[in-house]
């Protein structure tokens, strides 16, 4: 499967039998999955399925206790978010990477400001920052004519686009999007899904974490289902229908029982 995304015969990012304990709580158990360049890998799971633990391992916040994490076939152990970023893994947290009162270009380069001049007159290269921010946003399909606009005045979807464009500009090869659509309305969620596709088209391996199979299905190339810290399903798009995904995610039989109960409640 997916030969175009493979580099040196190995996956861009590969997890094998990864597990993580918090005290005696088993947060992740024997999780294996892979991400290829230019593809969208969806990680689906309900609350408590282990999605956040998985993201935190990939982004270097937590360290895994067992198994291996490989980038381009090389085994890695990230000891900090900085390590993960150096390996090209960028995490876009929902609303946690933007300062609303700051302009688009200030946000775009926050923490990575380009400078010109030396010593005491070393200064933020504002012209370059504005120009680049505008160009990079254009590549995401957004025409920013005023990069001075505060990020807080952008819509939720556009804010995600700024964060995604920034991560790609700063060399992200794997982009982890943590519930990017969960706080958005239907239309805005559609906008973000389009940016996700756009990012994958630019050759980035996208990990799209969501609890909504209806958002995942149209953009995903393959789907990993998590439940109680375990992988309960891993399907390529051609092997699965939307209905199967929805059912599997909700726990199949459990959902049928629940539907039955709910119908009972409604009819009385």
């Amino acid at each position: 499967m997916s030969a175009p995304g493979e580099t040196n015969g190995s996956h861009l990012l590969q997890l094998e039998h990864v597990s993580k304990y918090f005290g005696n709580v088993l947060a992740l158990q024997d999780v294996s999955l892979h991400v290829n360049a230019g593809e969208v890998t969806c990680i689906l799971g309900d609350n408590g399925a282990g999605k956040s633990t998985l993201i935190k391992i990939l982004s270097g916040v937590h360290q895994h206790d067992g198994g291996s994490v490989r980038v381009d076939g090389e085994e890695m152990q990230f000891s900090s978010p900085r390590d993960a970023r150096h390996a090209g893994i960028a995490t876009v947290y929902q609303d946690l990477a933007m300062v609303p009162l700051m302009s688009i270009w200030r946000n775009f380069f926050l923490g990575e400001e380009p400078t010109k001049g030396r010593g005491p007159i070393s200064r933020f290269d504002i012209g370059f920052a504005k120009k680049t921010a505008r160009e990079q946003m254009a590549q995401m399909g957004i025409d920013v004519r005023d990069p001075d606009q505060p990020v807080g005045t952008l819509s939720g979807g556009e804010r995600q686009a700024v964060a995604i464009a920034r991560a790609i500009y700063f060399g992200a090869r794997v982009l982890i999007l943590d519930e990017p659509t969960s706080a958005l309305g239907v239309k805005q969620a559609g906008v973000v899904l389009r940016y996700i596709v756009r990012a994958a088209e630019r050759g980035v391996g996208v990990i799209f974490i969501t609890h909504n199979p209806h958002h995942a299905y149209p953009v995903g190339d393959h789907f990993v289902l998590l439940n109680r810290g375990r992988v309960i399903g891993d399907h390529a798009k051609q092997d699965v229908t939307r209905e199967q995904l929805v059912r599997e995610m909700a726990g199949g039989a459990e959902l049928e029982v629940l539907t039955h109960e709910l119908e009972g409640v409604v009819s009385t």
């Binding site: 978010p81 900085r82 970023r85 947290y93 609303d95 946690l96 990477a97 933007m98 300062v99 609303p100 009162l101 700051m102 200030r106 380069f109 926050l110 923490g111 990575e112 400001e113 400078t115 070393s122 200064r123 933020f124 504002i126 995401m140 399909g141 957004i142 025409d143 920013v144 004519r145 005023d146 001075d148 606009q149 505060p150 005045t153 819509s155 556009e158 906008v191 389009r194 756009r198």
Partner: protein, 350 residues
Amino acid sequence: MTTADPTPVRLDERLASIGIVTRVLKRPDTGAFIGAVAVFVLFAITARQVNWAGDLGVWSSWINTAAYDGIVAVPVALLMIGGEFDLSSGVMIGSSGLLLGILTTHYHWGLWPAVVVCLLFGLAIGFLNGLTVVKTRLPSFIVTLGTFFMLRGINAGLTIKITGGVSINDIDQASGFSFAHKVFASTVWEKYGLSVATLWWLGLTVVAAWVLARTRFGNWIFGAGGDPVAARNVGVPVARTKILLFMATSTVAAFWGVMTAVGLRGMQSNEGVGREFEFIIAAVVGGCLLTGGYGSVIGAAFGAAIIGMAQIGIISSGWDSNWVYFFEGVVLVAAVMLNTAIRRRAERAR
């Protein structure tokens, strides 16, 4: 395909048609500028005892007074944009001046070595303030309120213990005093009595405004104040930025303490107490948000100018000087309302 998306395109067209007015209104310091002009006009009407608008001597006197608040208001504004407060910035003036006095009169140091020690003392107190805020995650309001009262106690207690009184005098006996007086407390424009402090104020404002708008550190100040969690996530050294801002505030306050002590040739043990609020008023009137992440050093300079005009204008209008406090209170509330209204308008105009 997304260029066909109607939302961003419509936004841009509206922006292009609004242009320069919105651009000016969007600046955080616009409100303070309008306020300063309004206050100037007010006193041009009421201050009948002097030629308010036409006499450069009157201009000098309120600009001198403005410098008195404006110098420390510069780092206070930066600190506030960085999301923190420093309530110890007023009493620090007294601490530094008294330290200068004790070193020069009691221990007979030369003036310049004593100045260096005062500035180092400012750096150290600022570092402690910043470190405590960053490490404990307590609100800086509480931490620096603590520093304020500790320094206030030390100022009074040590002055009495060492001199037996409530002030230190005869700093002008120290070697190096005459040159220091020239640098810190002379008059640069004899004819109208403009003090050298106004040049320090101007210089400091220009440097700080440049740092804020044009350097990496300036971007970090906005980030650290606007959303420290987001800023840290993208790699801004938030703790370091905040500690440096606390250090700048205490050090500039200590510097102003030196200037005051040299100017007065002595120091009262209660000097500076209560001044911290005037610095904060100047910064807030200048457009700084109390919650951080937004503001302007140039605005703080207009804020200080308003306070300077109030102090001179109220006396020149023949009113009792106690009304200055009342006036500052009114200006503070009015300015915050004006700034908020302007900001909302500018944001809605997009």
